[in-house]
Symmetry: C3
Subunit: 235 residues, 3 copies
């Protein structure tokens, strides 16, 4: 699983995939996010944590949202609830780690022969991820933890349809809570087809997060939403 | 083959691919369209029918343009001219079915353990498509039908270069027909390199549809075209 | 490796991949660039040459930036420094060829049964690339050449982050050279994290090219840069 802020355009994702393919032929490579909040590990951390729980134990995430590349931040491997993460130690894995039952992490000491200052995704993290598989064959996975913590009350992602995903996990909200965003009070709805066109509302998205939408419209434009917009809960 | 309106950004396509990979490792997964007309099964149906004929018998299309997800529309499997389709029964397969020799379709009764209300692509259609392959090994494919029907006289897709694809199949147009779009009369041309830069024209695209273009320019901007714009035929 | 100007949206890349998969099942297919300068083989040639050197000997590049498709330009196969290239003979491979030790090229005589006038990527180049692998098994690769030539002094690509990549290879620039672009003199910097936010500078990117950036900003917007903008060197 790739989780980056590279975008799908340009050569960055392709070069990482080439390294993975070359060092570990036949490895399955799937783009999860190529448009995580750019250069912004904090909302990216909430996004990663929300999506990672959906994957089976043993899944490996290669994660690059790395504004401090070439600087002092460490490079790390994390095991949390049986899933594995490779990437920069800049807060990107903070939520995954905080919510896990018994997380373990390691600093990456290994250095490639040739390390650019601006593209550790290709030069450092992809090789480490490629080498990880041989280790994982010996892995005894840990059971999923039910303990969960950490809520953020802001929008963390705007999707292709203009919906604004928040960091709020619905299972932890009061039943039938309303949300206030951009000066508007939004009611919960089960799904789009329940509502009249043009209605703004929030619903539990397919990953358990509260997501703000406008039926047959774009919530980002119609409500003026962007990443970081604060969201309040009215129980 | 994936045919969706998800866009390539965001996690939707990646999560579907993860399900396919997990349930049917080694399955080839190719994005055909990730930008089918969003939430709009009708032009999507013309687009799908125009492209599907190009693929060999036995190809499976996983199709999700599903504005009524979570509502009452059925989930279906369709076999048409030896190709297979999995997706919502909301008109998306209407043209494929209408043009096929002897199409067969089934309602999907199977339900996953966990079915979100907003993402049947991941929770329902992808698992069904993954399970389908084991059935297809026993498949006796049907011969290609020559019978074709159904024309739509409007733009159904704007591509990366700004060309506007219409639903008109050139084989069914009068020879040397001109098209009227946005108040302009367009002559046919064999290909771009025949014309002076800036000339607007139409040509038979690589899938047999009439496509409107401007040599070395963007037809969408220069002629003011968008999906749904009407196109008239002048024989 | 795919190198095209198709964009990732739309069906073009997907149809090429379908051909590759059908004719050579299991072939690894990785998108390097889908957004090479559209319809513009000259800057694309610099981009391809800069990125190709990074790949191991034996890599095959299927390249389609082909504004003259359907016209008189030849279709070619090129072997240069052990890497292979399939695509149009319109200047796209000029830099790769000029910088190679002992390049060899062939005109493609083979014609598919069905050749559209507008999509040789799918109908001609993809089949040739699929058939090439069987030949390459017998290939004795040639050693990498150190000889390099050809500089272009303009921007050749704008990436997802708004950075402007130039065709200048840093190894051939005077040490600590400054660049003039859009009326601004830019100092070199080792990497982003060395600088205050908002500072414009240039640096050696991960492929050895001079790249113009603004720390925590978009150089394209803030300096008014686009593909083709001239860049001057101040030694």
């Amino acid at each position: 699983m790739l989780f980056t802020d590279f975008g799908l355009d340009g050569p960055y994702t392709g070069q990482m995939k080439a390294v993975l393919h070359q060092m570990a032929p036949g490895i399955p490579i799937i783009d999860l996010f190529a448009d995580a909040p750019a250069g912004n590990p904090k909302p990216s951390a909430y996004l990663l944590a929300a999506y990672a729980v959906w994957f089976t134990s043993g899944t490996v995430f290669l994660c690059v949202v790395d504004p401090g590349v070439g600087g002092a931040r460490p490079a790390i491997i994390l095991e949390a609830d049986g899933r594995w993460y490779v990437g920069p130690g800049n807060g990107l894995f903070e939520l995954v780690q905080r919510r896990a039952g018994n997380p373990r992490s390691w600093d990456i000491d290994w250095k490639p022969e040739r390390l650019s200052v601006s593209f550790h995704g290709r030069d450092l993290f992809a090789p480490v991820r490629a080498m990880l598989d041989r280790q994982l064959a010996r892995l005894a996975t840990t059971p999923l933890s039910a303990r969960q913590s950490g809520q953020t009350t802001s929008a963390i992602y705007i999707d292709h349809f203009g919906n604004a995903m928040t960091g709020l996990r619905v299972a932890q909200l009061p039943r039938a809570a309303r949300l206030i965003v951009a000066g508007r009070v939004l009611e919960p709805a089960r799904t789009f087809s329940d509502l009249r066109p043009g209605t703004a509302f929030w619903y539990e998205n397919s990953n358990g997060l509260a997501e703000i939408a406008v039926n047959q419209g774009r919530a980002d434009r119609e409500l003026g939403l962007s990443i970081g917009v604060p969201v309040e809960i009215v129980p």
